[in-house]
Symmetry: C2
Subunit: 192 residues, 2 copies
DNA sequence: ATATGATGCGTACATCTGTACATAGCGCGA
DNA sequence: TCGCGCTATGTACAGATGTACGCATCATAT
């Protein structure tokens, strides 16, 4: 781990940039990348630093602990996902368009990279044990439910929310994921 | 970590039992306990050994690697859960009883200890990264779907399976879990 | 230009991890 | 009863991890 002593360059020459506002943000993004790729279990200070191309010491400088990094990362992920949810449903003008928006959202989840899906599941399991992360999850769920309540009554919104959750999760782990048509069938059947 | 050198008892006196058939089984059970309590991330050889009250060396003797322990543990969990599913649905004589069985299963999941639920989510996230565990998950899902297909057509079974998944997961992470009545409402609405 | 205080970083360290392996001890056949 | 061989265990070890901290370095004011 020790640098080769024959390296002629002084330490600072190798890493020129010092003043780097927004580095904290990049670190959080890097953390999300690492979580998606290696899981929470494989997320370490060193790995995040490597991905973000910053020195290890920068981690402890910007975050009090690894747990803080995880909490910030998951908060960002949840907020970003909720925003997509909000916007997609907010643009719907009637119930039919809302159904269409839901189908689009679910299909997008499944067809897109596994990135967001994996992050969500990782967040779930982390939330099961960490109260701070549980609050993040609950805020996220409350927000998506509220978005649905713009077009459906409270009970329907809650049940539909759960159905979406199940369709996405179940389908993602299956050998043959559901097609958008199958998603549409399930959602419309439920809302009929 | 080293034992106090002034312990007068020889090593063998402290741990009398040597011949212990079925120890492997107990270790797998202990592993499930540890996974449920500390998560896969907190599951180590030493922790399992501590819970099962066996020496560390016993772990590497009975299992080639930690991954093997996890695989066996999750396999056992999935099989046990699937058996419950099978039995509960198998005893139903008509579709109405099958619906009742489903509601009972879901409610049981929510009202019982978090034990099984946490294990399931841990299995999901582990399966996302480990091919061997993914096979376990898929076998489990296939089996529960087949049980549903005894009473519903294939499409309905698949969608219902996903709905159940969503209801359980969503509800478990929520601040106010759904009541059995709410579960019944959602399931019957879907099957109407 | 230069002193100076805040900012950022390299490195060390104690701890914990999975795993290997030399033996110790017991069951079992003679 | 007595050995022998397989089962089981204590221990060692290399590697990785989170975190602390002293010091280098830069922005800024003079």
């Amino acid at each position: 781990m020790k640098p080769p002593p024959d390296d002629p360059r002084p330490a600072t020459a190798r890493r020129p940039r010092r003043h780097d506002p927004g580095r904290r943000d990049r670190l959080i993004d890097a953390a999300l990348t690492v979580i998606a790729e290696r899981g929470v279990a494989g997320t370490t200070h060193r790995e995040i630093a490597r991905v973000a191309d910053v020195p290890l010491g920068s981690m402890t400088y910007h975050f009090a602990s690894l747990e803080e990094v995880l909490a910030e990362a998951f908060t960002r992920h949840a907020e970003s996902a909720a925003r997509v949810f909000d916007e997609c449903l907010g643009s719907a003008r009637d119930r039919t368009e809302a159904v269409e928006a839901v189908i689009t959202l679910v299909s997008g989840y499944l067809l897109g990279s596994q990135y967001d899906l994996v992050l969500s599941v990782e967040l779930y399991v982390a939330a099961a044990r960490n109260p701070a992360l549980r609050a993040v999850t609950q805020a996220w769920m409350a927000r998506s439910r509220r978005a649905l309540e713009r077009h459906f009554d409270a009970t329907t919104a809650r049940e539909l929310d759960a159905l979406i959750e199940g369709l996405v999760l179940h389908s993602a782990l299956s050998t043959d994921p559901m097609t958008p048509e199958q998603i549409r069938h399930a959602v419309e059947r439920f809302l009929r």
